[in-house]
């Protein structure tokens, strides 16, 4: 039993955090809002140089061969800066899905490109209403009629759907199966789809942790500087307790996210329950974080100028995608209300 991240993982996180907080500033995000694609090839190049795009690509295909547990702290940092680039989707969702498939041609063609930063892959599941970043994806893994297809950018038709979060680029994707390659069918496809869904949900949960921390940090700074009635408003007990009330569920969501990442990386039998537990709790913490942060900002929190809304809007969106609260609480309910459920002390860690 060792429920800690190792030194390498923590150092990697630190490096990525430094890079992201320096590069993916609120100003940078606002700049990207003004561009057509909303995405920065230059930034993607930097992420590639850091080894991030190839992190989960097997070494045989030019990647680092690391797993979901190695990436989860980095996904948290992506959340902390509200990264617009589709790093989580490509590295955490798409690549492992491809790797887990039996389609060697696809792997050979695409995984090296992903590792080199030359391609991104989007994933479209029926569970999700829309596909994130389909417009810049070179390849799309699409669930359709129970199968999983791989289809290239040239062969899809996209319809843009604007989100409240200007960084999020959402598309309805249509394609003709005849121009797509079958990745998997039947049970194999559904196993891959479920795996992708779990990875997508884990990505949301990890980002939600980062977003919540960011909203706390912004709020603490704001309330420490802003004075009213002659004192910093952060000295008011009501303001303090609002932020403490965010810190508590955040603190208790962290270990659930770690467990979920571990469960995915190690094929633990309780993986669905673990992921749903993490997604539900981490996103709930982030919603409370948004609500309490805007409140302690007063009217400033309601402005476009203050950066808070960048993170709030992402938190709102992530709560509802890759399975909403209903879906994830529902999966937990199914597990714990089952006749053969092993409940209570001593049953938390299973193989």
């Amino acid at each position: 039993m060792d429920f800690t991240f190792n030194e390498d993982q923590l150092l990697f996180q630190e490096g990525v955090r430094d890079f992201l907080t320096n590069e993916v500033t609120p100003e940078k995000i606002r700049e990207l809002w003004e561009t057509d694609s909303g995405r920065s090839p230059a930034l993607w190049g930097q992420l590639t140089e850091l080894g991030l795009t190839g992190l989960t690509v097997p070494e045989a295909f030019g990647g680092m061969g690391m797993n979901e547990l190695d990436f989860v702290l980095l996904a948290q940092e992506c959340g902390y800066v509200a990264l617009p680039e589709p790093l989580v989707q490509t590295v955490l969702v798409a690549v492992p899905t491809l790797v887990n498939s039996s389609n060697e041609d696809l792997k050979a063609k695409w995984l090296p490109q992903v590792a080199e930063g030359a391609a991104t892959i989007a994933v479209g599941l029926e569970q999700n209403l829309l596909v994130e970043d389909a417009h810049i994806a070179d390849l799309l893994l699409m669930e359709k009629n129970g199968n999983l297809y791989a289809v290239e950018q040239a062969d899809v038709t996209l319809e843009y759907n604007q989100s409240v979060d200007p960084s999020r680029k959402l598309y309805q994707v249509s394609f003709d199966e005849s121009r797509a390659m079958v990745v998997a069918e039947g049970d194999e496809a559904q196993a891959l789809v479920n795996g992708a869904l779990n990875r997508g949900a884990l990505g949301c949960a990890a980002q939600a942790l980062g977003l919540t921390q960011r909203m706390i940090d912004i709020s603490v700074q704001y309330t420490s500087e802003r004075t009213q009635f002659g004192v910093a408003i952060g000295t008011f007990q009501a303001v303090k307790h609002r932020m403490a009330n965010v810190a508590v569920p955040l603190e208790y969501a962290k270990a659930t996210v770690a467990q979920a990442a571990y469960a995915i990386a190690n094929n633990v039998s309780s993986v669905d329950k673990n992921v749903s537990h993490a997604k539900s709790m981490a996103c709930a913490a982030s919603l409370l974080g948004a609500k309490n942060s805007i409140q302690v900002h007063g009217a400033m929190g309601y402005t476009w100028e203050v950066n808070l809304h960048i993170y709030m809007k992402r938190a709102w969106a992530l709560d509802k995608t890759w399975g909403d609260q209903a879906f994830h609480k529902g999966r937990v309910a199914e597990a714990i209300f089952a006749d053969d459920a092993l409940l209570g002390a001593g049953n938390t860690f299973v193989r």
Binding site: L130, S163, W304, D324, Q325
Partner: protein, 390 residues
Amino acid sequence: MDLNFTAEHDAFRQEVRAWLAANVPAEPLKTYDTAEGFQQHREWEAKMNEGRWGMVTWPSELGGRDADLIQWLIFEEEYFRAKAPSRVNQNGIFLLGPTLMEYGTDEQKAEILPKMADGTEVWAQGWSEPGAGSDMAAVRAKAELSDCGDYYIVNGQKTWSTRAVWADQCFGMFRTDPESKRHKGLTFILVPLDLEGITVNPIPQLDGLPGFAEIFFDNVKVPVNRRLGDEGQGWEVAMATAGFERGLMLRSPARFQQTAKRLVELYKENQASADRDPAIRDAVVKAYMAAESYCLTTFETACRLIKGGKIGAESSTNKIFWSELDQTMHEVAMDILAARAELEPFAPQAKGVGSWLDGFLFAQSGPIYAGTNEIQRNIIAERMLGMPRK
């Protein structure tokens, strides 16, 4: 106790309903946080005034209908049911209007009220100053009487001025006694926004539109007849205005009841999906009950006021109750809409989302403006419950 409307009430309701049915624009107006929408709303105010429906609670000699609070609530019920446009001049009609009637000179009333009523002059409020938040007494903007005594020279800054981007006039408190502190030495002044020395900077809000603005005053000369009340009486006048703000005229129960109704409808339309999360059904029921409670309590208060009762610190419960209810209802709607919740209404996949996202964003401001809910809780504890201040 008699919870039936009188025949006169029923007749009044029918009259309102008929006029609205004939006059409410079939196409919703654009939001008044845009120039075009602002103009459309200004025209709507003019049409309302033509029909003498713009300020039903005003005296008939000022173009109103002498409506009492019950009639006002009936009017609002019909207004929200008819999905009639939001009131772009609510700062004027509901806040400054009644204040002017109490504190204004006959000349001021004659000059200002008609233009307020017909939408010729739309009013912005200048309550807040930068860095002051809910602290209304933290006024630094100055007004100095000119040597000749004809005008005030106004300097300083106001912020969070709702709808000021396209408004014509603004009211607020200015410090006329430079030695004074806090709520002393303040004077209530009405400032035309086209005077020389005024700069209005839009502040984009969560949806990106400029719902409010900062106003800078740089040696602005405001004629002395634009002072409301006496010099130094500003706090008293402002408290009367703020009382109207927290009082019954704004935040009609009808608004929240119609939201609750739409929430029930949204739930029913999406019931199969919504029932995957049992918390949703429960939240819808509770929200509906809360909206009804808000209505009941408001009618109860209105009846009490009509009989000569007074509204006290319990008006602070009002602010907390409606703002949290509004926030909750929109959160529940977001949960029902699930993945569609984040979509702008014009997105192709945004079927059935209606205006819930806009409403959700707007609801975020409820617990903040007109005195944050934290301030209201202090007021409730200290003034209503009698807990110790220090």
